[in-house]
Symmetry: C2
Subunit: 117 residues, 2 copies
DNA sequence: CTGGATCCTTTTAGATACTG
DNA sequence: CAGTATCTAAAAGGATCCAG
């Protein structure tokens, strides 16, 4: 896509909400130190358990992981399922909405490959 | 792109850096309350002057705008050109690297259109 | 006009200990 | 195992005043 094409599309499609950036709210939703990494892990393996995620995101604390997971669930990007076994088991997985972020991740990744050494 | 396709591509292409999310560093770079909005404004109109940007991002303060612009420039996403006229004029524009974010913005936008009411 | 400098408030993240 | 609760540290953001 060229610069002019973008201007044209954005200008007509969604620049209606008082000139605000249509990208910002989405990125706000993904902000925080851990959310994207969690989503990424769930892209690679899904579902995953709490402890499994914690191990992958190594230096993360319980508090941080819990908070991030809660916010992602509140935004309906991931789903939490609790199995009342002994010991307790909880599994997190991407929702359809969350899976729909894959193309976004991929385009970001393509940019990163080009520009991040 | 499907879930499986993503896994395959990501797994082979870039999952080399110790399992860390390849998307995160890019998003880190775009984090902060104002950076994306600035880039977006520059997508719509480029170049723009300091005061012009300030007007578009209405409640922003000088400090916040200055800081965001500096960081964007440090990441080589925008370019600052100063004209020593009287009164002083400074123009900001997207670099090629910055313009290359357009497809990313567009894919985020598509997602937003689908899921944000 | 385009910021710099300073101070202050708010938000976010980390450490530690504890529970069903 | 999967969290909660509480506290502290750090970072981000805002307000105000000043300068080339």
């Amino acid at each position: 896509m060229t610069y002019e094409e973008f201007k044209e599309k954005v200008g007509s499609v969604i620049l209606t909400d008082e000139g605000n950036c249509p990208v910002t709210p989405v990125v706000q939703m993904l902000q925080g130190k851990w959310k994207l990494q969690i989503l990424y892990e769930l892209c690679i393996k899904c579902p995953m358990r709490f402890g499994e995620l914690k191990k992958m995101l190594k230096p993360i604390t319980n508090t941080a992981l819990t908070n991030a997971l809660k916010e992602l669930e509140a935004d309906d990007l991931i789903q939490r399922i609790q199995y009342n076994e002994m010991p307790l088991r909880v599994e997190y997985s991407l929702t359809l909405k969350g899976q729909d972020l894959l193309p976004v991740f991929y385009s970001i990744m393509q940019w990163g490959i080009k520009y991040i050494p």
